[in-house]
Symmetry: C2
Subunit: 357 residues, 2 copies
């Protein structure tokens, strides 16, 4: 695409290049699965409305990136259009995560799965990417998304959210080869899905391993990590300054930072349960790091938010030889709908003020 | 007390003394807040019924300890008897955690709190300890419990469970001195509560920091750890073989194992999100370790359960210079009510078989 980015701090930070201040963007759950996200025009319209609200709320401190509406970043198999016929029957309930009418339980369920054709079956997502990219007109980069193979498999096997992931863990213990087969197909689909988003105009890509943190380290190394490695290795992202950076975000991924940095990803996104100084030391400058303010900080006063933002920024620098390079400021997880936009504005302002070179 | 323990493996392992096989006991949520737990005789009766079921289920492989019914181990302030008058109004809903009618929100709420008199206001708990200790007749040691100051404060400020602990975190950010005052009173109560359980016959004591794992490391070091340190330092537990061991269990405590081992506790209980070899190496034999099988393993087949139990046992030994000493086998968290007692029996048998000297 020929549009020149006005604000390329995010991409520069993800490449560990110098920036004049630390870029910040926030993940948000708001309106995540509202029906309007599932049709191209409505999705773009809804996004742009939210974007304008954010810009107004941010009082001239726009964030450094525009995430694709989150509803577009979730399951890539059994999406609503084909689900009614032969897939697992994906559907959405307002305010909740994805659910499946026919959860994956045995080999015949796995055998029925196939990687959807991105430009026909998932055309509504790719059209949304194209529309949003055009509307952004180079103001900020557009980030594409997918759930991780393990996280998508959790929804597919459990049929929705879960308290203890008993069904998929039982499959892992009793039928590991079947779970690996499922994860293999899902990984193929995730790679195709991210590739298609990149081709449609996404300028950075993030994989959410939201449920990797429910796994013991030995299970994580068997059922989540290898599929993240495959994505980092097989997803063609281009080269040099034309490279589309990949971010592997994982809730509860602190025990695995070295392994994640070694996958070949460009960046690792971390939750708020690890000191960023430790994360930076352990990854040793081989990847950019994204994070990691506790989202609940946004319930604090603007003064407290500024203090905590400075702590996170300085914590990163302390583990990175005193340099802020290679840091993308973010929350350790998504914002909640009841958080005050004024507090978000205070956060963005504080990050920019404290990190200005 | 003059009863001699038939099975003292738990106490020996908590003191890091040699044992002929690794002791195992399980935390369970079953019937946690049923009304019958709240009256002395009923609590004891209910426990003993469960105990008999377990023994039947365990087919001659009894566990190494008898935990006090969990309903007795929770909040020590504002218990049901006094709540109606002036306390925060603790009540229980079947199948859920504790709830408060009048959550703690400001200084006047904190000012009203007082440490209850254990042998009058919490006499029903102490009577339960005495009855159960007598009925056990030395078969296995009786473990007394309390929530941690941070965890109890979470329930008191949030008014019950919470998705993101926004209220108590807002207090931490905006009114840290008020939260510290609350935590101080709660810690006084926890110490008095555990002391009274010990005096009534509890032979080991465990503190559950169930919600410490929702805190960023810097907040954990400010709002949870110092109060665990106070408990370990100020709780009189006796000396030598008459010493009543203290276990500090915490979900999500992996980042803090060195700090927890340095509190002066006898043992640290860990969840399933850390390799026990790493935990053993990092604590360097200064404390016993309790854990850490993923509870969901009990949804697996008996073969899978045996394999995973062996993995946990060997993982501990690998980090402890090849020795199994100082290990208490447990789940990384509580059992769920839908878990099969036959699978629990398979787990206990597997731990005993694999760890026999």
């Amino acid at each position: 695409m020929s549009d020149t980015l006005t604000n390329d701090r995010l991409l520069r930070a993800l490449r560990r290049q110098p920036v004049d201040r630390t870029p910040v963007w926030l993940m948000r759950h708001t309106g995540r699965y509202l029906p309007e996200y599932r049709a191209t025009r409505a999705a773009a319209g809804s996004f742009l409305t939210h974007g304008q609200e954010s810009r107004a709320g941010l009082r001239g401190h726009p964030a450094a990136a525009a995430p694709l509406p989150a509803g577009c970043g979730d399951p890539v198999l059994g999406h609503p259009h084909r689900a009614r016929r032969d897939g697992p029957g994906l559907y959405f309930v307002e305010g909740e995560g994805p659910k499946f009418e026919r959860p994956i339980r045995d080999e015949s369920d796995v055998a029925k799965l196939a990687v959807p054709d991105m430009e026909s079956e998932l055309r509504y997502v790719m059209d949304a990417v194209r529309v949003i990219r055009r509307e952004l007109a180079g103001a900020v980069p557009l980030i594409g998304f997918s759930g991780s193979p393990w996280t998508l498999a959790c929804y597919m096997v459990e049929g929705g959210g879960s308290d203890n992931y008993g069904r998929i863990k039982a499959m892992a213990f009793n039928r590991p080869e079947l779970l690996h087969r499922l994860l293999g197909v899902v990984t193929d689909a995730v790679i195709a899905y991210l590739s298609a988003q990149r081709a449609a105009g996404a300028q950075a890509l993030q994989v959410f391993d939201t449920w990797g943190g429910v796994l013991s380290p030995s299970m994580y190394r068997e059922f989540s990590l290898p599929y993240l490695q495959r994505i980092a290795r097989e997803l063609d992202r281009g080269d040099g300054d034309a490279r589309t950076p990949l971010i592997l975000f994982g809730k509860g991924n602190a025990p695995h930072l070295e392994a994640l940095a070694a996958t070949g990803t460009d960046a690792v996104g971390v939750d708020w349960l690890v000191d960023l100084s430790e994360a930076a030391r352990r990854t040793g400058g081989t990847v950019a790091l994204q994070g990691n303010l506790d989202p609940a900080t946004l319930y604090g006063s603007p003064q407290a938010i500024a203090r905590e933002a400075a702590r996170v920024l300085d914590d990163y620098a302390a583990g990175n030889g005193g340099s802020r390079e290679g840091h993308v400021f973010n929350l350790g997880h998504g914002m909640s709908p009841d958080m005050d936009p004024e507090h978000v504005a205070a956060l963005v302002a504080a990050v920019h003020a404290h990190s200005a070179r």
